[in-house]
């Protein structure tokens, strides 16, 4: 296809166009599966075509340019919103969420919610007893898993792999999308860096798929769960999630996969380059493992104290701590009231899970949440400030591992946590005002902002978000998922660049 010589210079358009092309490719692939083994192949093909056309148009008629930070935020946030809108088409065309007595706006909201939950790797779902996952075709199921896989490493990161023309803007784009404080360079060129991230990601996905096959999953389920494990997404092809298999081996593979997915991919890359693991040298990774281990131990003790057997308690605690601590969101409950159904646990362990919903994994990983590095720096910052009261004239640096954290970075982290806290509080209030009780609202908001998946109380691991939240509340949560996935600022500041452009045009007239 020949590209026109005069093209409109808009990085947002170019990035969005290529992102839509990737998504439509995934839709075509899953539509083929649906055509072979399901009934909605044609609808999915149509959705893929509808996504392909604007994607191709944008790719052909736009070209990237050098952009400032405000435009970077607009580009990244705009891409994610457009991709989520088009990503909802397969559900809409296939009638996935059509139910008797439910109007089109609710169906539209559900499709949008499921798409955003997928791309943002949150794993919250509107499927449930009213609309079983088991009733869906394999293409639709694989498409759900694919949305999480493509969202896990980042849609924009994927675009940068094929768009070397971005040059310096590439780092800004990756930085705006990547979890943590800016993007790490693995290679001199950003496109190379992005490609390396994706190779690692694909490799990890392959490894998990093979391991799941080895422990007894069918090839379809193994690939599907490998997609959502490496991406720490949490969607499953079964209504009972991992609880369907009720297998320690499957749970172990998923847990290891989630822990690797929740660790920094830069560390994985360095380990591969050094041909030995270097993870243990990293203070954030040590904190991450320490947090998961500590939380598992405390939850196990509390569950045993509550009358659960030691082995059952350890299994339930370890799985749920890892799945929520890495922002995975899988469930190992075999049904409501079973061991893994954490909303039936006592309040103590639930509160630990609520804290884990906030923490998340490491920076530079596929997980969500505040991130362990920010927590470590936050604690170190608090200790430093308290010491300043004791020694007012002392110059005390904030340490991270053996290194000293630069002061601007400390301030950025503190600012991030303040904004995060405000979003949690205001989000909880809004969701509660839309008819949700305190615990469900708080769990839902923290879970959505941290891209975790299940919430507490009425939206636990065996329940649907339809049970816990009204339609407007689900839309608020969907917005928070995008805000959380893009680490707050791109979504919050996405309108600055368009506003500036508009303002300049009005002034020039």
């Amino acid at each position: 296809m020949k590209r026109p010589t005069t093209r409109w210079e808009t990085t947002t358009g170019q990035v969005t166009g290529i992102a839509l092309l990737f998504v439509s490719a995934g839709m075509f692939g899953t539509a083929v599966i649906e055509s072979i083994a399901g009934q909605e192949g044609t609808a999915m093909m149509l959705a893929a075509l509808v996504t392909l056309l604007p994607g191709a148009a944008l790719w052909l008629w736009t070209r990237p340019g050098q952009i400032d930070r405000a435009a970077v935020f607009s580009a990244v946030a705009g891409t994610w919103i457009v991709v989520s809108v088009f990503g909802a088409l397969p559900y809409l065309f296939a009638g996935t969420f059509n139910r008797s007595g439910i109007g089109f706006p609710v169906v539209l909201a559900d499709a949008f919610f499921e798409a955003i939950s997928g791309f943002s790797c949150t794993g919250s779902t509107v499927f449930g007893s009213h609309n079983l996952i088991a009733d869906q075709g394999p293409g639709i199921l694989m498409y759900r898993q694919f949305t999480q896989w493509i969202g896990g490493m980042g849609i924009v990161v994927l675009v940068v792999t094929v768009l070397p023309a971005l040059r310096a803007s590439g780092l800004g784009l990756i930085g705006a999308e990547a979890p943590g404080e800016g993007g790490d360079r693995l290679a001199p060129r950003m496109a190379q860096t992005a490609r390396r991230f994706w190779y690692l990601y694909a490799g990890l996905t392959g490894l998990i798929a093979v391991a799941l096959l080895a422990v007894g999953m069918s090839p379809f389920d193994a690939v599907a769960h490998a997609f959502t494990t490496a991406s720490t997404g949490g969607f499953s092809t079964r209504d009972a999630s991992i609880g369907y298999w009720d297998s320690v081996a499957v749970e172990m593979v998923i847990m290891i996969g989630l822990i690797l997915g929740g660790a920094s991919f830069t560390l994985h890359s360095r380990s591969l380059a050094a041909r030995r693991p270097v993870h243990h040298h990293n203070p954030e990774f040590r904190g991450y493992i320490g947090l998961l281990t500590g939380a598992t131990l405390v939850v196990t003790i509390l569950l045993v104290d509550d009358g659960m057997g030691v082995t059952r308690a350890l299994r339930s605690a370890a799985f749920n701590v890892v799945t929520l601590g890495t922002s995975g969101g899988f469930g190992n409950a075999t049904g409501p009231g079973s061991d893994g159904d954490f909303v039936r646990w006592a309040a103590g362990p639930q509160l630990i899970l609520l804290i884990l919903l906030m923490t998340g994994g490491c920076t530079g990983s596929t997980s969500g949440g505040v991130k362990v590095m920010r927590l470590i720096v936050g604690i170190s910052h608090a200790r430093r400030t308290l010491r300043t009261i004791r020694h007012p004239r002392a110059v005390l640096p904030v340490r991270h591992g053996t290194g000293v954290m630069a002061e601007p970075m400390v301030e950025r982290i503190a600012g991030f946590m303040v904004v995060y806290g405000m979003l949690v509080v205001s989000g909880t209030l809004v969701v509660a005002a839309l008819g949700t009780d305190l615990v469900t609202a708080m769990g839902g908001v923290i879970g959505s902002l941290g891209n975790m998946g299940p919430a507490l109380n009425k939206a636990g691991p065996t329940a649907s978000f339809v049970d816990g939240f009204s339609t407007p509340a689900r839309l608020v949560l969907a917005f928070l998922m995008l805000v959380g996935r893009l680490e707050l600022f791109p979504m919050l500041l996405m309108l600055v660049a368009p506003y500036r452009t508009l303002h300049d045009r009005v002034r020039s007239r």
């Binding site: 609520l354 308290l386 503190a414 509660a432």
Partner: protein, 473 residues
Amino acid sequence: MVGGLAVCSGLIDLLGHGADSPPLLITGSGMGLLGALLFGRVTGPDKAKPVDIIAATTLTMALGILLVAGLYIMTGAAQRPDDALFEATTGLTTTAMSVIDPMDLGYGLRFLRAGSQWVGGFAALLIGIVILPFFGFGREFADRSSSDGYRPLAPDEMSATRNILRLYVPGTGLIWGGYMLAGKSALDGLLLAMSTVSTGGFTNGANEFADPSVQWVAIVGMLLAGSSMVTLWYLVAGRGGLHRQTGLAMYLGLHLTGVLLLLLPSTGVDLAATRRLLFVVAASVSTTGFPMDVPARWPTAAPVLLLLLVSIGAMSGSAGGGLQIRQHRALMKLALREMARQLHPRAVLKVRLAGRVAGEETLRQIVVLQFLFVAVTFLTAFLVAVFGLDLSGAISAAVHATATAGPVRGLDGVIVDPTDWPRSVRLALLPAMVFGRLSIYPAVVAVAALLNLLRDKARVKRRYKARKHGGSL
């Protein structure tokens, strides 16, 4: 002070049956004598370190709690030490989660309960206006400027203390008068006034606020008690510019917004219901916690809203608890600055609060204060959850304790009776109340100082042992 309070309680008990007078008078006199002896004999260092003063504040609060608890045990008001400790803590920290039925108490003990809150409220004002700004952080916000012949509230530590008393004592008298005009007896009015002005929240029986005029006095009292002393000083000193005080506007705006949001589900405008909601909101924002029945149509968001109001709390420089409005304003401005920094990473952006540029160190400490507030709340919620409360109850109780905001309201709007909780839950709430009343920092500094002391002692012991055995460290 506790001795004086006990003596006053003993004397007031003589107006009733007088059964509690002897223990109160004897113990109070003993405490007073011991205090006077220590005050006369012990001299402080010429120049005390700020950290020592901050740590001493915590120790004083802890000692006060123990002394008041001792009085409850001696008089038989509390049968068990943990009940006495809980009642004393909830009194001195102005939290008002009472486990003692005031109807069973004589005049003296009722006065002791309300008096402990009054002392606690005064201590909170000292911490907020004298100790933290002069020895901790936020010095730039102390009202020290004497330009245009204006006499500031806090030019130095001693004057600030005197000026606080000049407002606190007449304020109590004013509210007392209001309650009496509204039909309360002199003693009941005094006790309620002491609980109101200190944002304490103890009451002396059920249906204390059944009368609308009493409700209005309580509403005005709570509004005043939750206002900054600087604002009240401006009023008294006749200095203009109140309309430019963003903190005051936010404080009043919180009340208005709270009432409007709670009124939303109701179908018509009912003055009595509006007054009751204003009472509930004022009790939450000022963290007084006076109980009041809520309308039958209680929206699901109402408990979340009230919990949020409680955690925001009153104005800084007031007797109210919570994280307080100035801190929230600083956090909001920090959030906006962070967003601006995302767009302009190298820009030098200052945060202005109350017409002054806030120092970076102050801002840093406010951020850390927020972290500590959240940490204390979560830790407390975890402990009380482990000890038997359900999740929403645990979160609610922890927020109320840390904000020193009085009785906990359930999700259905009904006020929870702390005597229904297990004893371990009540004990787990005590540190949060103390931390909250001391504005977190002094308590954390005191704990850190204590840990340092223990560590130093252990180190000295280790070295001594090593030397004794001929080794070296």
